[in-house]
Each structure stands twice: as structure tokens, then as C-alpha cells.
Amino acid sequence: MKVGVVVFPGSNCDRDALHAAQLAGADAALIWHETTDLHGADAVILPGGFAHGDYLRAGAIARFSPIMGAVRAHVERGGLVLGICNGFQVLTEARLLPGVLRRNATLRFEHRWVTLAVERRNTPFTWRVPEGMTMRMPIAHGEGNYWLPDDDLDRLEAAGQVVFRYTAPEGNPNGSARAIAGVIDANGRVCGLMPHPERASDAVLGSDDGMLLMRSLVESMARVEVAA
């Protein structure tokens, strides 16, 4: 069960994601963005941060990083990829996930604790989340306002690709269409979300709900391995 956490120049949640993955029992390592080899990782995490400074549009440069070719090949092989915050932005820019992430409706960086409804539990990223449970974790981003045209949103919802939605009491923090906080690709192997599960990794930090996602991921890989 190897987890590779990609480090772009400007990633700043790489070590946080590494720590949380290790806490969930994974054999996790950092992977520099200039390599084209995932070093045998069974799952890849694209962490939060400001890859390449995000001076253009969040994630717009990172999708050209050499590692992204390997990530794409990994996805084509059916491998698991989790994009958190900037990682989600990179995945949408790379067209590995549908939608775009626009600037927050407030036009400001927003750091808040939010509550997430988990819309789909039959994914490798969420199967450990108890039914009906809402999850608490922080958001910290300037561009997390999820958008797709209405027709596409209808199709996305119909296909069950909306995995996380912002919900009460705090509600939608950034103006995202239909309060969408995270989505999954059509094959159910690539998931991205703006909130930070790796920061909700210990009760002393305010919540350990995020560990349910990290454990889902790590233990899914174990199941795949056993099945194989």
C-alpha cells in the first residue's frame, strides 16, 4: 500500500498529506514533480498549496509538470488519485476531473471550518464514512468556487459524481455551484475536494473526520492488493 504525495514547487500541504497518509497506515513518500515515475505508488495524492506560485490560474501551470504524465497513465491503469485543494484545482486544469474552480464569491481568501455532507459512500475515498455522517474540516483557498454549466451539473449529479457538498450550519463558503465541495470522475478513481481532510486528522486539532477519507483510501488499496 504505497501512497505517493506529489510535491510541486509551491506545494505547501505536501508534508501534511504525507503525515495523514502515514497516520492512516500507508507507506507514504513524497514525489518531486520533475520525475516521471511514481516509484510504485498505488495511490497518488496531489496536495494543497500554490503550485508554481499559482500566479496565472490555480493549477494551470502544474498540469504541465512532468509528473502529470505519470499521474495520467496511473489513472488510465485504474489507479487512485486524490486531489486536495490545489490538488483538486490541478486535476480540473488537467481535465482529469470535470468543472472549474473560480475565485471565491467573496473575492477573498477564505479560511473556515466547514461541514460536509457525503453524497456518495461507495467510492474508494469515502466507504469508511458512516451513513448520514457529516464531516468537519477546514477550507483554505482563494479559488474554490466550483462551476459547470447547469446542464453539465445536472448530468454530474445524475451520474453520482458529486461526492461532497457544503452543508449547514456554515453552508457554502465560496459560492460553489450547488454547494459542491468535491467530485469524482466517471470511473470512480479520481477524486478532488477543496476542504482539507489531512488537517482534520486529530481530535486535538478540532476534528479527526478527515482520517475517515485517508483510511478509506489506504484500506481500499489494501483490498485491491488482497484481491489481486
Partner: protein, 764 residues
């Protein structure tokens, strides 16, 4: 070479660079000849107030700096104290006031970048930022623009580099209208053996400059911006403001830490004020060496830069590493891995001189010590202003006050007004723009008085607070500094932590003015005496003078930052109420003195009223009591009583927890003093009923008063006033004071929540 546009009447170059005639003479003496223009420019930035502390050095020498845990003190890039488990914390606070006044976003952003590099240069990974911001009253649109720009700048840099902003202060006062204050504090973690120093100890070693290229931004920032008063020509100073690139900053942090951790460097110095001149002369002066610097090898943004521009540029995101020749290749490899340019720009020499060459041509030669150490101090005269009101000495019988402005007071309405005041209300409008949780160590972020960060791999947690008392300082600067130290240490102690070290940022006016220098010298005295009495070593800091504008001088502002450690994070005590039915206890005695309080600024005070006095022994006893009670797991919550007094402290505990309280308060002097007075050495704690005897015993053995006020619960805050002064019995008061404060938590929470949006505009 033209340094400054030629005016009609020729002013000598040294004066145009801010050097006095006496300083020019001193330069002649140190060189035994006349300096050339480049040398003069180098002297002007190094002998500026900002770099040399020439006006404050004699005062700063009086501060207590020794401590058993201190690993690095003043004079280094940052102070370092040991925290146990083989780890240490590097921390420092610095100002970026004048750049922020001129260009708020870049000024604040580069303030964050600068303090981060100071911490990183010590070999520490930054784990926390705190920012203490002071602005004019927000009804002025220019002030709102400043607030917005500074907040975006602090966030823009800190969020991007991935260091959480976990605390600070936000204060509005008309004295800051023309001259806002941006003080940024940073703390980082390192191993005890992993300290890196800003030193060039070995002749023959190489000086490697890495990071961003050198450009024309920030030319003369130290001498032009930071060392002169402000006037309407400030806009013309904009080219003196540096431009920050947080992405490059992040890469620089990672590269620097990899170099230090790999043992590849002998010394490390960041380039901040005075750029290459400062970095080269300081590492050489500390090492007793010299340095030969070739300008041809410095990577430039613009090809036609003059030597003086290269030497004093304050371009951001640059670092100077001192490297043994054998390690140079490896250093350059690490730097280039992080996408940064690194070049050998010079060699360490034995002759003690900073020598600037262009190929074979020698352009300047100055003893490193003359630039960095042997700076003529400026002695100033101090005289108190005619109008001042000093706090009574401890034990002095205070004036029995009739509390004039409380005539007909409705305590509930006053509490609502105080909570809704921009200086006391929720700072969420600002702090939601800061990433507070990156790093996954934040236990307490910006919400409360002290930030708490766990230290992974240990049971320990860092506790950090920053405080100031500018309003008391308008009356009695020494007392204000003393109160700020006491409050800051109290904020650390209420969590159960032990304060380990103190850093300070002294923001004052023009030291050439008698009363401004008096404010500075008094503040340093109050700071030093109190830190010494509490046993907290001062490990460094920063002095910002000339904080004056045509609108006047700022309130004297000694910004204090204290770092503490809690050995077992399970002992951490938080400020909000915990459980219905818990007993609310006031620790410490309430004393008189409303001058400088939030209440005074809202409602006024008697014209001869004074600031509260501080009994340092009582303060220390309270801190020890709080730590012992925390370690014994007696406390359910603990909150410091400070701005807004007891009523505001209790209201915050209630708002933060959603639990009300039913209390009774003995009023000895006047209701306003008991409810809203800001006398120090007090805390509000809650305990389980069965722990009352333990707490009472712990308190009485330390001679700290402990009074039961009532119980936690319900959705209202009710404080019934009883005792001789309860309703304001004195005849001359006229209408009596309501004898009960009874407010719904919803009303109080709304006032507190809306305090900033009401004046700064809404954020959804």
C-alpha cells in the same frame, strides 16, 4: 554616478543620504581617508537607524537577556530558546510600518517574507505567524483601504508559503491614521544542534548568494523609509518599497532548510534591509573576517545597475550562505533543485574588510566592523511631557474614585457597546483571510488570546501571544510596557504553559524630540524590569522610530511577543466555558485605575484618574497558580482579564462556548471599575464544583485571591452587583447605576460578531 536628483542648491551627498556631519567625520576617522560615493552609500544604509539601532542601543543594553534555556539572543537573526526533547524554538517580531503605509499590500507581504527569512536563517522551519496591526479609525476610507491592503498582503504571503497565521492584534486609534503599524512575529522549530548562525568564520570560504535576482526595488528602504518621518511626499517613496514574491520565498525556505539540515553551510544570513551591504558586513564582522565581493557575479534584473544600487538594493527572497569550498557544488545543486539561481559572489578573507570589486577594479574597501558594529551611537535627551498620569506604585493608596462617567450607567448596554467595538469584537473579518491550519499543528488559532500549536513527535505544544498597551502608554509608557509584558505572559500562562522567551517591537516617534525619546526610554525600562521580575529573557526584537506623520505621533507602542511551552498538551486549558454547572472563579484582586482602558475610550473617565498599578509579585504568583492548577487538571477553562475588563472576559467565555452564566459580583469601589476596569493580575477560571477546595488551597498558598462568582449555564449572561459600591451610592453621581447586568447571549454575540463588518464592510 548620481545617487539622487541634483537639487537647485547643492546639498552635500552625505546629508542627502541621511548622514549627519558628525557621522561623516566619524567615517573619515574609520577609513583614515575620505569615503568615495559608493562607500558613503554603504555607510548611509548601515548607519541608518533601522540597521544600526544607534538611538536605541544604549537602552536595549539594559534588557535582561540571560536565561538557562536561551540558545541565541539579541544580535542574531532571531532569538532561540530550548523547549525540551532536543528541540528549540526560534522567534522574533519585526515591524514593516513605513513600507505598509506607502504600499499596503507589498509592505505587509514583504514584512511577512522578511521575518520568515530571519527564522529560516537560524535553521528553523517556520510554524507560526502572528501579526499585530494598528490603524487609524476606520471611518476614513483611506484607512479602510490600508486595512484591506495590509490584510491581503499578510495573507497573500503567509498563505502561499504555507505558514499558518495563528494570532495577533488589531487595534484602531486615530494616532495611527497617518502611520499605521504592521508588526509581524514568526516562530519556527529546530533541533538544538541544528542552529545556523549569521557568521563567516573561516577565511577562504565562499559566499553564495541564492534566490531572486537583484533589482532596483527597495533602494534605500532602510535609510529613506524606515528612518525618517512621514510627510505628504510619501507617494514619491514608493520605489523604496520592496516587492514580495511568496512563491520564490517558499522555494527559498525549502532550499535554505535543506542546506542547513545537510550541514552544508558555515553561516547563513538573509538579505533584508540594506541588502548585500548588510549581509556581507554583518557575517564578516561577527566572524572577525573580511569579504571580497565581486559585483560582476551578482545576478541582476536590470543590466545597467550602478554598484551602489546593487549594494543597497532590498530585493526580496535572497539569502547569503557561507560555504566551505568543498561544499560549493553541492550547495549550488540543492539551490538549483528548488528552481533558484545560486552563484558564488565572493570569498571570505582574513583582512577584516568588506571589499567590493568589479572584476579587478576595487570600488570600495571598508572594515566590516565599521559598517556593522562600530557605529557611533546617538545619545538623545529625554524629558517627560507636561501632561502625564503615572500609575500608582504597588501599595500606594489609590484615590477613591467616584467614577464620574458611570452616572446612570446601564452595565448591559456598556458591555454590548464594548463587545461591538472594533478593538474588542471578533476579528474573524480579518482572520478568515489567513490560513490558520496549514501545517496541521494548530490547536488554537486566531480566535483567542494565545495561539497553541502541537509539536509533532512530542507531547509538547507551543503557546504564543502578542500584546501591547498603547492607550495606557499615552499616560505612562513605562507602565504600559510593564502591563503589556504582564498581559502577554498571562495569556501564555492561562493555557498552562511556561513562558520561555520574549521578543519586542518598539514603535515610537522621532527620537530627536525630547518627549518621544522619553516615551521610548520609559517603555524600555518598564519592559526590562517586568521581564526580569517574571524571569523571562528578552531574546531580541526590533525598533521602529520616526513613526510620525503630519497628523501627529503614534501612541507609544511596545509590542510584546512571548513564546511558551506546555509539556503535556493534554494539560492544555482553553478559555471558553466547558460545561453547564461549572463554578466560575475570579483569581486575583480588582484594583482601581480606568485611564487607558477600553471603557475610558468609550465613556471617558475622571480627569485625574490614572492607569492601574501592577504588583509584579502578585502577577507572578497568579501565573504559577494557573500552571500548577492546569497540570493538576483542576481547571475546566481559564481566561485572562484584560481589555474591556472582567465583563468582557466573561462575555467572551460565554460567546465562545455558547454557555451563559449566572454570577454575583462584589463591588468595592465603583461598578465600572469592577466590571470594566483593566487592572492586571487577574483571570477567570471555571472548575468542577468538587475541585473548589483544591483550587482554593492552591490559590491561598500563593496568596492569590480566589472568589466564587457563580455558575455556568443558560443562554444569558447575568451579573448581579452587590456590596457597598453596587449601585453607585455616592450622592454626586446623580442617577444610580442599574444593579444588574442581564443580557441574552445572542445579543452579545451579535454585537461581537458585527464589530468589524459594521466598520469595514461585509464579507459573506
Amino acid at each position: 554616478m548620481t545617487l539622487v536628483e541634483e537639487p537647485l542648491v547643492q546639498t552635500p551627498l552625505h546629508r542627502r543620504l541621511g548622514l549627519t556631519d558628525a557621522e561623516l567625520t566619524a567615517i573619515h576617522q574609520r577609513l583614515s581617508r575620505a569615503p568615495n560615493d559608493l562607500e558613503l552609500a554603504m555607510f548611509s544604509v548601515m548607519w541608518s537607524e533601522h540597521c544600526s539601532y544607534k538611538s536605541s542601543k544604549s537602552l536595549l543594553r539594559t534588557l535582561p537577556t540571560a536565561g538557562t534555556d536561551v540558545l541565541a539572543g539579541p544580535g542574531e537573526n532571531a532569538g532561540v530558546v530550548a523547549i525540551g526533547d532536543g528541540l528549540a524554538v526560534a522567534f522574533k517580531i519585526e515591524s514593516h510600518n513605513h513600507p505598509s503605509a506607502v504600499e499596503p499590500y507589498q509592505g505587509a507581504a514583504t514584512g511577512v517574507g522578511g521575518i520568515l527569512r530571519d527564522i529560516v536563517a537560524m535553521g528553523a522551519r517556520p510554524v507560526a505567524l502572528l501579526d499585530a496591526l494598528k490603524f487609524g479609525w476606520p471611518d476614513d476610507h483611506r484607512t479602510r483601504r490600508l486595512v484591506d491592503g495590509v490584510v491581503r498582503g499578510v495573507g497573500g504571503y503567509g498563505n502561499c508559503v504555507g505558514v499558518p497565521t495563528v494570532g495577533g492584534e488589531l487595534t484602531f486609534d486615530p494616532t495611527y491614521t497617518g502611520n499605521p503599524l504592521v508588526n509581524v512575529m514568526c516562530a519556527g522549530i529546530l533541533t538544538v544542534g541544528g542552529i545556523s548562525r549569521a557568521i563567516a568564520p573561516t577565511p577562504g570560504s565562499m559566499a553564495v548568494l541564492f534566490g531572486s535576482h537583484t533589482g532596483r526595488d527597495g533602494i534605500g528602504g532602510a535609510s529613506v523609509l524606515a528612518s525618517a518621518n512621514f510627510d505628504d511626499g510619501s507617494a514619491a517613496m514608493r520605489p523604496s518599497v520592496q516587492i514580495g514574491d511568496p512563491f520564490a520565498g517558499k522555494l527559498l525556505i525549502e532550499a535554505t532548510l535543506e542546506l542547513v539540515e545537510g550541514g552544508l553551510v558555515e553561516g547563513m544570513q538573509d538579505l533584508g534591509a540594506a541588502g548585500l551591504t548588510c549581509a556581507t558586513s554583518e557575517v564578516a564582522a561577527r566572524g572577525g573576517t573580511g569579504i571580497r565581493l565581486d559585483l560582476r557575479s551578482v545576478p541582476l534584473r536590470e543590466a545597467d545597475m550602478a554598484p551602489f544600487e546593487i549594494m543597497i538594493s532590498e530585493s526580496q527572497e535572497r539569502m547569503l550562505a557561507i560555504v566551505e569550498p568543498a561544499h560549493v557544488d553541492e550547495v549550488l545543486r540543492v539551490v538549483s533543485h528548488w528552481g533558484l539561481r545560486g552563484v558564488v559572489v565572493g570569498e571570505i578573507t582574513a583582512d577584516g574588510d568588506v571589499v567590493v570589486v568589479d572584476g579587478e577594479t576595487e570600488l570600495a574597501r571598508i572594515p566590516a566592523r565599521a559598517l556593522a558594529i562600530d557605529v557611533p551611537e546617538q545619545l538623545h535627551e529625554a524629558a517627560p511631557p507636561t501632561r502625564r498620569r503615572l500609575a500608582p506604585a504597588p501599595g500606594e493608596t489609590p484615590l477613591a474614585h467616584d467614577g464620574l462617567p458611570e452616572r446612570g450607567m446601564d452595565p448591559g448596554a456598556v458591555l454590548e457597546a464594548l463587545l461591538g467595538h472594533p478593538n474588542l469584537g471578533s476579528r474573524a473579518w480579518v482572520t478568515t483571510q489567513y490560513d490558520q491550519t496549514v501545517g496541521t499543528d494548530t490547536i488554537e488559532g486566531c480566535e483567542h488570546a494565545a495561539a497553541v500549536l502541537r509539536i509533532k513527535g512530542t507531547k509538547r505544544a507551543l503557546v504564543i501571544a502578542t500584546d501591547s498597551q498603547p492607550f495606557v502608554a499615552l499616560y505612562d509608557p513605562a507602565q504600559a510596557a510593564a502591563l503589556a509584558v504582564a498581559e502577554c505572559a498571562r495569556n501564555v500562562s492561562v493555557t498552562g504553559a511556561r513562558p520561555l522567551g520574549l521578543t519586542n517591537c518598539l514603535n515610537f516617534g522621532d527620537p530627536n524630540k525630547l518627549d518621544a525619546y522619553w516615551q521610548l526610554s520609559e517603555s524600555v525600562r518598564g519592559l526590562g524590569e517586568t521581564a526580569a521580575a517574571l524571569g523571562i529573557p528578552v531574546t531580541g526584537g526590533n525598533v521602529s522610530l520616526y513613526n510620525e506623520s503630519p497628523l501627529g505621533r503614534i501612541a507609544p507602542t511596545a509590542q510584546i511577543g512571548i513564546v511558551g511551552v506546555i509539556d503535556d498538551v493534554d494539560d492544555l486549558v482553553r478559555p471558553q466555558f466547558a460545561t453547564s454547572g461549572d463554578i466560575v472563579v475570579l483569581l486575583g484582586e480588582t484594583g482601581p485605575g480606568m485611564a487607558g482602558s477600553a471603557y475610558e475610550r468609550l465613556a471617558g473617565a475622571a480627569p485625574d484618574d490614572r492607569p492601574p498599578s501592577l504588583d509584579i509579585a502578585r502577577e507572578a504568583a497568579l501565573h504559577e497558580l494557573l500552571r500548577v492548577a492546569a497540570a493538576d487538571r483542576v481547571l475546566k477553562s481559564a481566561q485572562d482579564v484584560s481589555s474591556g475588563g472582567l465583563a468582557v472576559a466573561i462575555a467572551e467565555c460565554a460567546i465562545w462556548s455558547g454557555l451563559g452564566a449566572e454570577l454575583q459580583l462584589q463591588v468595592a469601589m465603583a461598578p465600572a471599575v469592577s466590571l470594566f476596569g483593566e487592572s492586571p493580575s487577574r483571570a477567570i477560571v471555571t472548575i468542577d464544583e468538587r475541585n473548589w477546595n483544591s483550587l482554593a488551597r492552591l490559590a491561598s498558598s500563593r496568596r492569590v485571591a480566589a472568589r466564587r462568582l457563580g455558575v455556568v449555564g443558560g443562554d444569558r449572561l447575568r451579573i448581579r452587583l452587590v456590596g457597598v459600591g453596587a449601585t453607585g451610592a455616592a450622592e454626586e453621581r446623580g442617577a444610580g447605576v442599574a444593579d444588574e447586568l442581564d443580557m441574552s447571549l445572542d445579543v452579545l454575540r451579535r454585537a461581537w460578531t458585527q464589530a468589524l463588518p459594521r466598520v469595514l464592510g461585509k464579507v459573506a
